[in-house]
């Protein structure tokens, strides 16, 4: 088994509000092969997202695969509604950073 950094397989890794109460993260892969590697590895799951963001799994709304876009997407409940007291990122556009550190295990 070897591990490939997700940044080698993905062409888009981003976060954004999905309405003022949710934060959604998209990982869009460069090609079918990279997407399949990530899906088959099953590493992008609730346990990983809860670890990367220091949140309980019940704060994760869903993790979905969208093969038409070669994408895996995770949506979490915002720590506070957009713009509320203590806000750090009104648009939610800089909350993707922990995802850049994911490694995808590949079984040859």
């Amino acid at each position: 088994m070897k591990k490939v950094p997700i940044t080698e397989l993905a062409k888009v890794i981003r976060s954004k509000n999905a309405g003022p109460y949710e934060l959604t993260m998209d990982i869009i892969f460069k090609d079918e092969s990279g997407y399949q590697k990530a899906v088959n590895s099953k590493v992008i799951n609730k346990s990983l997202i809860s670890k990367l963001y220091h949140i309980n799994e019940d704060q994760i709304i869903n993790i979905v695969q969208f093969p038409q876009a070669l994408a895996i997407k995770a949506t979490i409940i915002r720590p506070r509604p957009s713009g509320a007291l203590g806000e750090t990122d009104v648009y939610g556009a800089q909350q993707h950073a922990p995802l850049l550190k994911i490694d995808i295990p590949i079984y040859e």
Binding site: K16, P20, A71, V90, Y91, P98
Partner: protein, 452 residues
């Protein structure tokens, strides 16, 4: 099907974000049946809805509208503008209407304009809550009575029906309040008999201008063409291409679930949607369905007053202070509280520590400190004077605080500005993100027709 195809020109992602005239002209050459533009978003946060001001610049909006309306009048095709003024409440609608009236006078235009309001009276909200016809949209919380009192404006997202009504009354230009984003792109096509599934899905892509192309852009135009069996989207700048992944990926954007997208009166079902490369720069999308629901629900958005803000910005480069930043903050916080304990001030004091967890706050997995820190002292209080007092006192206390092990005794903070404190004024928070049931899709969206 009344026509073979129906073309929608989307000049830009948000009215006021601009577009190259070359792209717009290319779009006009394709003989569009309508020009539609989305003017709003909740992304910039609760302030704009709460305060009744636009997040886009007036001159930039005027520039875009001059080109768009001139083209619509010249070609005798309708122009639809959704979520006027960025948030779509009455103040925003009036602001945008004033710009259009100014343009009409300057250009000697004469046309029929319809405005469609979307602001909902707070009394009506109260009644509807009592009748159980309003519910929070998960994960938003229930609305308390106190929050409703503090709420300055509530808007409902209209669907296509009020827009169709305005077009039926002969409007050349429709200026609408808060809209479900795809509505202005889909309304006239559905009115002319096109299937709602592809029309609304196409609107979802077009509402962001050329963002669904590669390279993407929020300030460039796109064209959508509806056919009997689906739709085609393409950018209008020859240097951009729509690809299967760029268009499919856009369907994910800002959405919780990419295959089930709720809107007024129903949802888009994209489980069987197929994306195919139609030409070098265009993508064809088939199989999108609109599923109407028995109850016609619309989304409500509201913002309430949170208080008055004052902030102070500083930096820190001392490695000893940086290593003790958490205890310095706690000590300063209790000193502030203790100093004013007799005054009973009501305030929220927050420290943004850039270089540690300033961007991600509690979500930060790696809150280690760098060689320097950026510090924003952020105070929100019930009035501006209290916010100023707490911010000023926190700043001076932190500047001179004698933490354990301190050797730089002249001052702990570097201020880039004099004055160091900024009075922001009233700030807001979202208070409503609810669903409201309507008896009739046009019930709460009054239309006014006028000759401009």
């Amino acid at each position: 099907m009344p026509m073979n195809e129906y073309r929608v020109l989307s000049p830009t992602a948000i009215l006021g974000y601009g577009f190259p005239e070359s792209s717009f002209d290319e779009g006009l050459k394709r003989n569009p049946d309508v020009i539609a533009v989305d003017a709003g978003s909740t992304d910039p946060g609760p302030y704009y809805l709460g305060a009744g001001v636009s997040f886009t610049d007036r001159s930039a909006v005027k520039r875009d509208l001059e080109l768009i309306i001139a083209a619509g009048l010249d070609r005798k095709i309708p122009v639809l503008i959704g979520t006027a003024g960025g948030a779509g409440a009455n103040n925003h609608l009036q602001w945008n209407l004033q710009i259009i009236k100014e343009l009409a006078q300057e250009n000697n235009w004469h046309f029929k304009l319809a405005t469609v309001q979307s602001e909902i009276d707070k009394e009506q909200i109260k009644e509807q809550i009592k009748e159980g016809r309003i519910e929070p949209l998960h994960p938003a919380p229930e609305l308390t009575e106190q929050e409703l009192i503090q709420t300055t404006s509530v808007v409902a997202q209209m669907g296509i029906e009020p827009l169709i009504q305005a077009l039926d009354q002969g409007a050349d230009v429709v200026l609408a309040g808060r809209c479900y984003d795809p509505a202005v792109f889909a309304a006239d096509a559905i009115r002319k008999g096109y299937d709602a599934g592809p029309a609304i899905h196409m609107g979802k892509i077009l509402e962001c201008g050329a963002i669904a192309a590669e390279p993407g852009s929020g300030s460039d135009s796109a064209l959508g063409t509806l056919h009997a069996d689906g739709f085609i989207v393409e950018p209008l700048d020859p240097n951009r291409k729509c690809t299967v992944t760029s268009v499919a990926a856009h369907t994910l954007y800002e959405k919780t679930n990419p295959v089930e997208l709720p809107g007024p009166g129903g949802y888009l079902d994209l489980t069987e949607t197929k994306f195919n490369q139609y030409s070098d720069n265009a993508v064809k999308v088939t199989g999108s369905k609109f599923i109407p629901l028995k109850k016609y629900m619309v989304k409500l958005e509201g913002a309430k007053k949170a208080g008055y803000r004052t902030v102070s910005i500083a930096g820190c480069r001392d490695s000893i202070m940086i290593s003790k930043i958490d205890e310095v903050i706690e000590a300063v916080r209790s000193r502030v509280q203790d100093n004013f304990h007799r005054q009973g001030y009501n305030y929220n004091l927050h420290f943004h520590i850039y270089g540690k967890n300033g961007v991600m706050g509690e979500l930060e997995p790696n809150p280690t400190v760098g060689h320097e820190l950026g510090i924003v002292i952020d105070v929100v209080a019930e009035d501006q004077d209290t916010a100023n007092t707490i911010c000023s006192f926190t700043r001076s206390t932190m500047l001179h605080y004698g933490y354990d092990g301190r050797i730089a005794t002249a001052g702990n903070l570097a201020f880039p500005y004099s004055p160091s404190d900024f009075k922001v004024g009233l700030v807001y928070e979202f208070s409503l993100y609810h669903l409201m049931e309507l008896d009739n899709p046009t019930a709460v969206f009054p239309i006014k027709m006028m000759e401009v």
